[in-house]
C-alpha cells in the first residue's frame, strides 16, 4: 500500500484506443513529488523539441500530488501540462475545483492522454473502469451545456468533469480546460491541445480512499495549520473580497492597474471595480475548492441592466482586468458578463483580453483599418463589439480567426503592431505591470516557464510579506526587500518564491496558502508530506526539489534554443516610463535584475542556460548532457543575431 500518493499513472492512447496503468515508483515519487513535478518531468522526457503542439505527438498530462484529496488545507488542485500551442514551448496551467481529488479517489496520480481520436470522444474514468466514449453529440456545446448533458448521460451527478468549450474544439491557441463548470486551467492554450486530440471531456468518479502514513500526526498538522489560517489576515481578506481586493491598492496606491493594454497604470474611476462594490452589489455567494478554508472563489449575479439575471462563477482579479480595463471597460456588469462568456466558450480570459487589446491599440494608432477587420471598428470599451469579438474568436469567424492565434502571432500574421502584443515568449501577460507591482514579479515575467505570467513565483513577499513580522528578514536577511520597488534581494526573493511554488504545485497545495498568505511555511509542508507519505525530508531539501523542477522547465525552453535573448519583458515595461499615477516615471530595471537572477540561479549570463554543474547538483545529469549541444547551437544563434544587427 502506498500512502499519500496512489503510485499509479493512467495512460490513454486515443489513436490506438488503449488504456494502461503504470506504476510510479517510490524513488521517482520522492524525486518529483507529484502534480507539476511529475508532469514537467514526463513532458521533458516524452515530448521532444520537434513536436508540433497541435499534433498527436503532443501529450496532455493531468497531475495531482500526495496531498490532493486529503484534509490538508487548500490541497485540491490539479496541474495540466502540455507543450504550448501559444508560446510553442513549455506549457502548464493549474486549476482548483474538485476534479483532481476525484481522480485521486479513482486511484491515479497522473493521467496522460496521447495520440488523437479519429472522431470526437470523451473519457469516462469510473475507478478501475476506463472507457473512451463517443462525444459527437457534445461537440459544439458550451461548457455548462456539455457538463449537464454528460451528467445526464452517465446517470450520476456525483461525478466531476474537466472539459473544453467551442474554443478548444476550434483550436484557439489560448483555449482553456475547465472543471466543475467554472474552474479553469486557463493559461498556455492547453484547451487547444485537448481539442487537437478530439477529446471533449474527462469525466471522473472515484470512490477509493487516500491513505496517509501517520493519521494522528497528519490530523494534528492539518488542525494546527487550519487554526492558524483562520486567524490569518490575508486569508480573511481573500475570503471577504476574493482577489478583487487588489483593485483599490493596485490602482490608487501602487499604480499598476492595467488600463488600455498597459498604456497607463492608473484610472481615476477604477473604484467602480473595487472589491467592496463587487461584494456588496454583485456577489451571489462564495464557493471554495476542495478542502479549502480560504474560499476566494466567487459567484456573481448581475441585478440590473441588459445582462440582468446572469449568474456566473468568478470572476477573479486577472479575468476582471483582462476583459475589463485592459480593453477599456470599467462597468462591473459588462466585466462580469464577459467573464461568463469566455468561461462558457472555454477561452483563457488573459490571452483573450490581450489579443483584443492588441487589436484595439493597433486601431488607435492607425495600424489597422476596417479593411483588415472585416468592417469592424475597434474602439476601446465598445461592449457590443467586445461581446461579438469574443464569440468570433471562439468560433474563429472572420477577424476573430486572426485574434484566435494570440496577440503575438496575430502581429506576425498582419506584420504590424508587434510592440502592442504585451507578451513574453508569445504568451500574453497577465494584467500585472512590473512598473508598479514589484521587481521580483518582473523577473518572473521575463524568465518564467510559461512566458509572461504572474504565477512563475507569485513573489508576494514584496507585496504582503511586510504584514508578517520578521518573515522577509528571516528568508532574505533584510527588511529592505519588503519594498516592492526596491531592487535589493529581488533575484533571491524570486528564486525562493519560485522554488516554493513549484513544491506547492506538486504536493498539491494552493499557492495562496504560502505565496500570498504566508500561513503555510516550508516547515509545515514538510510536516504534511512526512505525515502523509512517511517521507523523511528537511525544508531545505524540499525547496531543492522545487528548484529541480524549475531547472527542468527552464531546460525545456533551452532545448528549443530559447535563452537570454528571449528573457525580456515587453518593451512597454522597460522602455516606456509609467505616464501617470503613483509610479509616474517608473520603468522596470530589467538590465540590472536579470543577470543578477541568473547568478542566483546558477545560470550562465552569456546564454541564460543553467550551468552543467548546477544541473548535476540538482540531480539532472541527463539534462546537463542534453543541453551541451543546445548551448553551442544557441551561441551560434546569438552570433548570427549580432551579425544581423551590425549589418542593419
Amino acid at each position: 500500500m502506498v500512502d499519500g500518493w496512489t503510485g499509479r499513472r493512467l495512460r490513454v492512447d486515443l489513436s490506438k484506443s488503449t488504456v494502461k496503468v503504470e506504476e510510479i515508483e517510490k524513488a521517482y515519487r520522492e524525486k518529483w513529488l507529484g502534480g507539476r513535478g511529475f508532469n514537467s518531468e514526463l513532458l521533458y522526457r516524452e515530448v521532444g523539441p520537434d513536436v508540433d503542439p497541435l499534433s498527436p505527438e503532443n501529450k496532455l498530462i493531468f497531475g495531482v500530488g500526495p496531498l490532493t484529496g486529503t484534509f490538508a488545507p487548500s490541497s485540491g488542485r490539479t496541474t495540466v501540462t502540455a507543450k504550448s500551442p501559444l508560446g510553442g514551448g513549455f506549457g502548464d496551467s493549474n486549476m482548483g475545483g474538485h476534479w483532481g481529488p476525484e481522480l485521486k479517489f479513482a486511484g491515479y496520480d497522473q493521467l496522460v492522454v496521447e495520440g488523437k481520436a479519429s472522431k470526437p470522444v470523451y473519457l469516462w474514468i469510473d475507478d478501475e473502469h476506463v472507457e473512451i466514449r463517443d462525444a459527437g453529440h457534445l461537440w459544439g456545446r458550451t461548457v455548462p451545456e456539455a457538463d449537464a448533458i454528460l451528467k445526464e448521460e452517465l446517470g450520476s451527478k456525483e461525478i466531476h468533469i474537466a472539459l473544453i468549450g467551442p474554443a478548444g474544439e476550434n483550436l484557439v491557441r489560448y483555449a482553456c480546460i475547465l472543471n466543475d463548470v467554472y474552474r479553469a486551467a486557463a493559461r498556455t492554450g492547453i484547451g487547444a491541445v485537448m481539442g487537437s486530440k478530439n477529446l471533449k471531456a474527462v469525466a471522473v468518479r472515484g470512490t477509493g480512499p487516500v491513505t496517509v502514513s501517520h493519521p494522528d500526526e497528519f490530523y494534528q498538522v492539518c488542525a494546527d495549520i487550519r487554526e492558524r489560517m483562520k486567524r490569518d489576515l490575508m486569508v480573511q481578506m481573500l475570503y471577504d473580497q476574493g482577489t478583487w481586493l487588489l483593485t483599490m491598492p493596485a490602482n490608487y496606491e501602487q499604480g499598476w492597474f492595467c488600463w488600455h493594454n498597459f498604456q497607463k497604470g492608473f484610472h481615476p474611476d477604477a473604484s467602480k471595480l473595487s472589491g467592496e462594490n463587487h461584494r456588496d452589489n454583485f456577489l451571489s455567494h462564495r464557493e471554495g475548492c476542495f478542502a479549502c478554508p480560504i474560499s476566494c472563489g466567487r459567484f456573481s449575479k448581475i441585478k440590473e441592466g441588459k445582462y440582468a439575471g446572469e449568474i456566473t462563477g468568478g470572476p477573479e482579479y486577472e479575468t476582471l482586468t483582462a476583459v475589463g480595463p485592459r480593453i477599456g471597460l470599467l462597468d462591473m456588469d459588462e466585466v462580469v458578463h464577459n467573464n461568463k462568456l469566455v468561461n462558457e466558450l472555454g477561452l483563457d480570459s488573459c490571452s483573450c483580453g490581450g489579443a483584443i487589446a492588441w487589436a484595439m491599440e493597433c486601431w488607435e494608432k492607425g495600424l489597422l483599418t476596417r479593411e483588415d477587420t472585416d468592417g469592424l471598428i475597434l474602439n476601446w470599451g465598445d461592449q457590443t463589439l467586445i461581446d461579438r469579438l469574443i464569440r468570433m474568436i471562439a468560433f474563429r469567424e472572420g477577424f476573430g480567426n486572426i485574434l484566435a492565434e494570440g496577440s503575438s502571432r496575430a502581429a506576425e500574421l498582419m506584420n504590424r503592431g508587434a510592440d502592442f502584443s504585451i507578451s513574453v515568449k508569445g504568451h500574453d501577460m497577465s494584467q500585472d505591470d512590473p512598473r508598479g507591482l514589484g521587481f521580483a514579479f518582473g523577473i518572473g515575467f521575463a524568465t518564467g516557464r510559461r512566458g509572461g505570467d504572474h504565477l512563475q513565483g507569485l513573489p508576494c513577499l514584496e507585496l504582503t510579506g511586510g504584514f508578517y513580522p520578521g518573515l522577509v528578514e528571516k528568508i532574505l536577511g533584510t527588511r529592505e526587500a519588503e519594498d516592492r520597488l526596491s531592487p535589493v534581494k529581488k533575484p533571491e526573493m524570486e528564486k525562493y518564491s519560485e522554488d516554493l511554488k513549484a513544491v506547492g504545485d506538486s504536493l498539491t497545495q494552493c499557492t495562496f496558502t504560502h505565496n500570498w498568505s504566508f500561513a503555510v511555511q516550508p516547515e509545515d509542508m514538510v510536516r504534511l508530506l512526512s505525515a502523509a507519505t512517511g517521507m523523511d525530508i528537511s525544508a531545505d531539501d524540499l525547496l531543492r526539489i522545487g528548484g529541480r523542477i524549475v531547472h527542468l522547465e527552464r531546460a525545456y525552453w533551452n532545448r528549443l534554443l530559447v535563452g537570454c535573448m528571449e528573457d525580456h519583458c515587453p518593451k512597454r515595461f522597460t522602455q516606456e516610463p509609467m505616464p501617470d499615477g503613483p509610479n509616474k516615471g517608473m520603468v522596470f530595471p530589467e538590465a540590472d535584475l536579470i543577470p543578477r537572477y541568473y547568478d542566483v540561479r546558477g545560470w550562465d549570463r552569456m546564454t541564460g542556460f543553467p550551468l552543467p554543474d548546477v544541473l548535476i547538483e540538482y540531480g539532472l545529469e541527463n539534462v546537463a548532457r542534453d543541453l551541451e549541444p543546445c548551448r553551442e547551437e544557441y551561441q551560434k544563434k546569438m552570433q548570427m543575431e549580432v551579425q544581423m544587427a551590425e549589418k542593419l
Binding site: G69, Y182, G208, I294
Partner: protein, 136 residues
C-alpha cells in the same frame, strides 16, 4: 475530510459521515448529515440492537461489533453510511461532543450548538427585523 480521517484514519468522501451534495453549475452546496432526531428511523430499522441512543448526549451511534451489514438502516435514512471494506454501517456520532466538521468549517456553514441556543438565535433574527427596522 476531517470526518473520515478522524473516524477511519483515511481521507475518503465515501467514509465521511458528512456528505456534500453539489450543484456545480450554480456553485451551490448542500451539506447532508445525521440530525440526531429523537425517534431515529435507523435505530428502529436495526434488528440487531447495533444502533444505540446515548441518553446523556443524545447522539445515536453504531456499535460495529453488533452490525451484521444487512443495510436496513440505509433504507430507513439517507444520512447513514456503509463501509465498503468492513461491510458495516456507520453514522455521525458527534465525535464525542466536539464535531470535527463544525470545528474546521471555515465559513460558518456548519456549527454545533444546543437546541435552545439555535432557537434563540432564530428568534433573535426574527426580532431584529421588527426591532431594528423600527429603530431606523
Amino acid at each position: 475530510m476531517a470526518c473520515s480521517l478522524y473516524h477511519e484514519g483515511e481521507c475518503s468522501p465515501v467514509l465521511s459521515r458528512m456528505r456534500v451534495v453539489k450543484y456545480e453549475a450554480l456553485g451551490r452546496n448542500f451539506p447532508s448529515v445525521c440530525s440526531q432526531c429523537s425517534k431515529p428511523q435507523c435505530l428502529a430499522a436495526c434488528d440487531q440492537g447495533a444502533i444505540r441512543l446515548n441518553e446523556s448526549t443524545g447522539a445515536v451511534s453504531v456499535e460495529e461489533s453488533l452490525c451484521t451489514g444487512c443495510r436496513s438502516c440505509l433504507v430507513a435514512c439517507p444520512a447513514m453510511g456503509f463501509h465498503p471494506v468492513k461491510k458495516v454501517a456507520f453514522k455521525c456520532d458527534l465525535c464525542g461532543g466536539d464535531p470535527q466538521c463544525a470545528r474546521f468549517c471555515p465559513s460558518g456553514a456548519l456549527t454545533f450548538r444546543s437546541v435552545d441556543e439555535f432557537l434563540m438565535e432564530r428568534r433573535r433574527e426574527m426580532a431584529d427585523k421588527v426591532i431594528l427596522t423600527a429603530q431606523e
